[in-house]
């Protein structure tokens, strides 16, 4: 691999590492989400420095030019991160759904209590046996 592109790759990976660490330090990024970023940056940095490993990987995957293997690995990490965010987003939207439902139920309860209307019996605590069937 040419030295110039190696330098560019190393600088980019180091910059990414530093930015992620700085964001974590300022509490703008939770450690939970930073870990995957740090891991990808470290792997890319390692491959950029350690030429032989990169050449080996390129050969294994049938990639003629070693820098392309680096890009391939980087793209793989990007896809992984995006998937990770989709999963995180699903979790958040599910959590916010539950939150909205609970909030609405509580709000209704508060309104009912404030209005002094008769409260529905919490029958979950006192199960009523069927007394008679008028059919």
């Amino acid at each position: 691999m040419e030295t110039r592109i190696q330098v560019v790759a190393i600088v980019a990976a180091v910059a990414l590492l530093l930015i992620v660490l700085e964001l974590v330090r300022r509490r703008r990024l939770m450690e939970r989400y930073a870990l995957l970023w740090l891991f990808s940056a470290t792997v890319i940095l390692a491959l950029a420095i350690w030429q032989d490993a990169l050449n080996e990987i390129a050969q294994l995957m049938g990639i003629i030019s070693a820098p392309n293997a680096l890009f391939f690995v980087a793209v793989g990490f990007i896809l992984l991160l995006l998937l990770h965010f989709s999963a995180a987003m699903s979790r958040l939207s599910d959590q916010s759904k539950v939150l909205a439902q609970r909030q609405a139920i509580l709000e209704q309860r508060v309104r009912e209590l404030e209005s002094g209307a008769p409260l529905p019996v919490e029958a979950s605590h006192q199960h009523r046996e069927p007394t008679f069937a008028r059919r």
């Binding site: 599910d94 759904k97 439902q101 609970r102 609405a104 139920i105 709000e107 029958a123 199960h127 069937a133």
Partner: protein, 283 residues
């Protein structure tokens, strides 16, 4: 002149009496006083029809408490609903029909309801027929879900565009194969649930376009569902949640949910398990 009026009046009275006698099977009384019943009315911007829907439920299904779930409407839906004296859950933002109905399930579970019915706020479901759903469930205690189907009657054609009906029939075909039971209208939201089904769906209910997936969940949890023929009206007011542009998305999304749902060995965690997504800590 006077005589003619009297004659007209009498004939009207006779006609009305005949109408009543032809409908003796239906009496607007609560026949199941030992059951706590809740009618959940999910409504999103339904100010035009919500009061009438509540009124019809009160009139035709007097045993049901009415709970309107205002799904983040931007119009006067909740004011109109509260004016009728119904209980209203106001969701802070639009969750979609699945989230709104699940709020109803949670409410029903926490207030110990024995039966919960879903009656859409747009007026397309006929509360008149809640009685029929109740009777079906009362006739067989092993039934957990009674679903009102538009396609079991031949005297009434549901006036939906052909594309939508085709979609419904595709889902119906797939579900019928999976469940080894005829399912004619899996997209119908007009359903009655017993306490088992309420507990299941309060725990986990599909997000958007939930009806078809809910049928699959019923099957996976070995609950029993039957269909009864019902009439449905064309919606009168508001905008359907499924516009024509969205129906392709609807088809694909529900099909994905169906086939992925099939691959889930344990679709929903039992009490004590890790929550599916919501409370999970990872990622």
């Amino acid at each position: 002149m006077l005589v003619r009026y009297a004659a007209v009046g009498r004939s009207r009275a006779v006609r009305r009496r005949n109408f009543r006698t032809r409908h003796t099977s239906y009496r607007p009384v609560h026949r199941y006083p030992y059951l706590k019943c809740l009618a959940v009315v999910p409504a999103y911007n339904e100010q035009a029809s919500i009061a009438r829907v509540i009124g019809t439920i009160r009139e035709h299904a007097p045993g049901f408490d009415v709970l309107v779930v205002d799904d983040g409407s931007t119009d006067a839906t909740h004011e109109r609903a509260e004016a009728t004296g119904a209980r209203v859950l106001r969701l802070p933002y639009n969750l979609g029909i699945g989230g709104a109905v699940q709020a109803g399930f949670t409410y029903a579970l926490e207030h110990g309801y024995d039966r919960m019915a879903q009656v859409d706020g747009d007026g397309q479901h006929d509360p008149h027929q809640l009685d029929r759903l109740m009777a079906t469930m009362a006739a067989d205690p092993s039934i957990d879900v009674v679903c009102g189907s538009r396609f079991l009657t031949h005297d009434y054609r549901y006036p939906a565009p052909i594309s939508r009906r085709t979609g419904i029939h595709i889902f119906a075909f797939i579900l019928s194969r999976i469940m080894r039971q005829r399912v004619s209208d899996p997209t119908s939201g007009f359903r009655l649930y017993n306490a088992n089904a309420i507990a299941l769906f309060a725990r986990d209910y599909p997000h958007d376009y939930p009806e078809v997936e809910a049928v699959l969940m019923v099957h996976h949890h070995r609950l029993r569902m039957v269909e009864v023929p019902v009439r449905m009206f064309v919606r009168n007011g508001g905008v359907s949640s499924i516009s024509s542009g969205k129906s392709a998305y609807y088809m694909v999304k529900v099909l994905l949910a169906l086939f992925v749902g099939l691959a889930r060995r344990r679709p929903v965690p039992e009490p004590g398990d890790i929550a599916p997504v919501a409370a999970e800590q990872g990622i």
